[in-house]
């Protein structure tokens, strides 16, 4: 069975890793917080594994999940 993804962003070739000189691709990542894990798909560098968390994701969904978990 395919693993569930809570969030998916496709970089559409608009992001480049400066260290490796390659474009970021949609890749598997996981948010971890207070002993909880959330699999997601985010722009990831295929060579060095740099994961990009966009501002709107950090201040939107990530923040609200953080707050919900903090009050658990």
């Amino acid at each position: 069975m395919a693993e569930k993804n809570y969030y998916t962003i496709d970089p559409d070739g608009k992001l480049t890793c400066m260290k490796c000189g390659v474009r970021l691709e949609k890749g598997k990542a996981k948010f971890l917080y207070l002993d909880n894990g959330f699999p997601v798909e985010l722009p990831v560098c295929p060579k060095c594994g740099f994961i990009y968390v966009p501002e709107e994701l950090a201040l939107g969904k990530v923040l609200s999940v953080e707050k919900a978990l903090e009050d658990k």
Partner: protein, 755 residues
């Protein structure tokens, strides 16, 4: 770095209070106590609500409320002794409300309430033998409870029966009551001798009730338990009552006994509180002017009379506190919800925000007539949640890190040059050094010059931050650290610049502690002190609550500098918090702003404070605001420094004084690159609690790892670094010799690759 709690799957629990302590605390809150009029009424008429309905012109609702307490409102109203009127609070400043006249107006102008829902008749049958006021009311009460009721009486009809029961009643009352009675589902057996009927028929009824005279005839000398209106020996509901109120109340008690008897229970079983009660309510009459009764001749005059009612309630704490107003809860209910929040083992902690939003200022304990201390409840809850690992770090982390900065990188402790040990140590506090470094410098130089025996300097935090956060272990460490530093100085007399520091240090340091204002009063203000010849509102710091000497000292100094100190509401011990206390500024900006607004609504004048945090928060709201020491030393605080500037001020003050006073050279660290910020980035960082030092550390990490990405659309670069419990992202462009920062954001969640 402060350790984040390990997991949400922590199932530890520690009770905040014992059940007895919780109840003892709750008992102090009288908000839910009945108003005086309502408490005096044995029938428990919701007088306050009824008067409010009349006041709103809603006579139908007023009548519905009145009708609830009795089946015969006309009779009750006409003859009621109205003990409620005598208890009206307004008597203390004028004439009380004419409650009976308002009841009469409700009967006159209100439409009778519609019949209650379709209830099923009960299968236990009730018989009433003989007619008096008590049995009349009892018939009505039993009928409302859906018992099939049969009345055996000598009279030949409703009118005669009513006349016999309620003698001397005006005709229109009788007519109205006749209508009410005839509409009730009661079977009357007219022209019957009640005693004979009892002998013949009583066996065929489950519940037997009798007028007192009839009962005496049947069982001479019978003993009645008046508390339940039952003669237990004969299982007969009866009793002697006085007046209409006594009869109506007796009938209520008797009807409840009928319920118990119908279930074969003892009539005294679980009856609850009956009759009039003593209330513990407190109602302030501040601002209530004396007024006289208005005769209720028509609707308008009844409404006018009802509007005189002050709707007695105790909201003393809520009136003064923005926090309680925000959550719209009074202390008893808030305490119970906080207690439950702390007690739950799994699930959402819905009250974390309110627990962390209280400024812990203690104003409630002064305003409450019984001294209810909501601050203590919130503080204990915070400590409890820290103990059990349920307190999130996020709301307090920035403030705690700031405190660690104050007591580490920005900490300074030095004796005055030329003195191995000093008689005094000046402890200005973390907010004064962050907001007004020039003032702190001037104060220290002045004290060194004018006090004999040497004045040491200690720049740091008193520990209030971790105390407010409930981090008691961290607080113990801070206390130990400060005590050690003071011991190194030879345990000198402490001169604090801040009333909260004075309060905090007094709780542990076994030393003499004075506020700088006390010293200034003793040695006089310096000659270059700035005079301010205008009216000001003095804002008392919550750290000085209960410290009358400090409050008065501040006023005397202000007046000596030309200030005309005006009186404001909620001054002195009643003063509200500016929104900084208890870390509200960090945990809940919305509530903190409401607290500041609450402080500022007290006066339109410039505000003079003696706590730098108050001074800063008032200035941010655009009010002319100054700290007493700014006047004393003729120096100005920085205008609303952002979070980075506050840290920079503390550090640069330390470096500056080390060079100026102790001739210690401070070598500035060269980053090796420049960092510039767009105005948008600066504002954004202040709002998002991201320090410039955080951004610099991210950029330093970038220079080591080279990890960054380029956004094709904007051409800007992005990098990130995990600093402690937070990942910081910086969006920047490379410029000559360094970076120009365009945006910055952060998240606490960690992100990792997965296969």
């Amino acid at each position: 770095m402060i350790e984040e709690r390990a997991s949400t799957h922590v199932y530890r629990q520690k009770r905040m209070f014992t059940k007895e302590e919780l109840e003892a605390r709750e008992h102090l809150c009288v908000h839910e106590q009945p108003p005086y009029c309502n408490a005096a009424c044995p029938l428990k008429l919701d007088t306050k609500a009824m008067i409010a309905a009349v006041s709103a012109g809603d006579f139908d609702r007023a009548l519905a409320l009145y009708d609830k307490i009795t089946p015969f409102p006309h009779i009750l109203c006409a003859l009621c002794e109205a003990p409620c009127e005598g208890k009206c609070k307004l008597h203390e400043v004028g004439e009380g409300v004419s409650i009976r006249e308002l009841e009469t107006a409700a009967l006159r102008f209100g439409a009778p309430p519609k019949k209650r829902g379709l209830l099923r008749k009960k299968n236990k049958k009730a018989a009433i033998f003989g007619g008096d006021l008590f049995t009349l009311f009892l018939a009505g009460e039993l009928c409302r409870k859906m018992y099939p009721v049969t009345v055996f009486c000598q009279q030949d009809g409703y009118a005669a029966f009513l006349r016999a029961c309620a003698s001397g009643m005006p005709e229109e009352i009788l007519a109205a009551s006749e209508q009410t009675l005839s509409r009730m589902d009661i079977t009357f057996v007219w022209n019957t001798d009640p005693a004979e009927a009892f002998a013949e028929k009583n066996a065929s009824f489950d519940l037997r009730c009798a007028a007192y005279d009839t009962a005496q005839l049947l069982f001479p000398g019978l003993a009645v338990d008046e508390a339940v209106m039952v003669c237990r020996e004969h299982r007969l509901i009866t009793g002697r009552t006085q007046g209409v109120l006594g009869a109506a109340f007796g009938a209520k008690k008797a009807a409840l006994s009928a319920d118990r008897l119908a279930q074969n229970l003892d009539p005294a079983n679980t009856r609850g509180e009956e009759g009039s009660v003593e209330t513990r309510l407190y109602t302030s009459l501040d601002g209530v002017s004396p007024s006289q009764r208005i005769p209720c001749t028509d609707r308008a005059s009844a409404v006018a009379e009802a509007k005189r009612c002050i709707q007695c309630r105790c909201e003393e704490c809520i009136k003064g506190c923005a926090y309680l107003q925000h959550y719209k809860k009074f202390p008893r209910i808030l305490t119970r919800e906080i207690y439950n929040n702390v007690s739950i083992i799994m699930g959402d902690h819905m009250m974390n925000k309110p627990i962390n939003a209280c400024s812990l200022c203690g104003q409630c304990s002064v305003l409450c007539p019984n001294g209810y201390d909501m601050a203590e409840v919130c503080h204990i809850a915070r400590q409890n949640m820290v103990t059990t690992g349920k307190m999130p770090l996020a709301p307090h982390e920035f403030a705690l890190m700031d405190m660690l900065f104050s007591n580490d990188e920005a900490f300074l402790c030095r004796p005055q040059p030329g003195y191995a040990q000093c008689k005094y140590v000046f402890f200005p506090g973390c907010q004064a050094t962050a907001i007004a470094p020039a003032t702190v410098r001037a104060a220290y130089l002045d004290l060194c010059q004018r006090l004999e025996g040497g004045v040491a300097l200690m720049l740091g935090c008193c520990g209030a931050i971790c105390d407010w956060a409930g981090r008691y272990e961290m607080y113990d460490d801070t206390v130990k650290f400060l005590d050690e530093q003071l011991a190194r100085l030879g345990n000198p007399t402490v001169i604090t610049g801040c009333p909260t520091c004075k309060k905090q240090l007094s709780s542990h340091a076994q030393l003499e502690i004075h506020g700088i204002w006390e010293i200034l009063e003793a040695i006089g203000v310096p000659e270059k002190a700035k005079r301010l010849e205008k009216p000001v509102a003095v804002h008392d710091a919550c750290g000085a609550r209960g410290d009358k000497a400090t409050q008065q000292s501040i006023r005397r100094i202000a007046e000596s500098l030309g200030c005309q100190v005006t009186q404001t509401p909620y001054e002195g011990d009643k003063s509200p918090c500016c929104g900084y206390g208890g870390l509200t500024q960090y945990t809940n900006r919305e509530v903190a702003k409401e607290m500041t607004d609450k402080c500022l609504e007290r006066s339109d004048l410039p505000y003079l404070s003696y706590c730098m945090a108050c001074r800063d928060r008032f200035a941010r709201e655009g009010r002319e605001s100054m700290h007493l020491l700014e006047l004393v030393y003729g120096t100005s605080a920085d205008h609303c420094p952002d979070i980075s500037a506050k840290r920079y001020n503390r550090l640069s003050l330390k470096h500056h004084l080390l060079e100026e006073i102790w001739n210690e050279e401070v070598i500035a660290m060269d980053l090796g690159f420049t960092v510039a910020y767009t105005p948008e980035a600066e504002a954004m960082m202040d709002d998002r609690m991201i320090l410039k030092t955080d951004v610099i550390r991210v950029l330093q990490s970038l220079r080591q790892t080279g990890e960054a990405i380029r956004e094709e659309n904007s051409g800007l670069l992005l990098t990130r670094a995990r600093l402690g419990n937070v990942t910081f992202w910086v969006k920047y462009e490379e410029v000559d010799g360094g970076y120009r920062v365009h945006r910055a954001y952060s998240h606490r969640m960690n992100i990792v690759n997965r296969l």
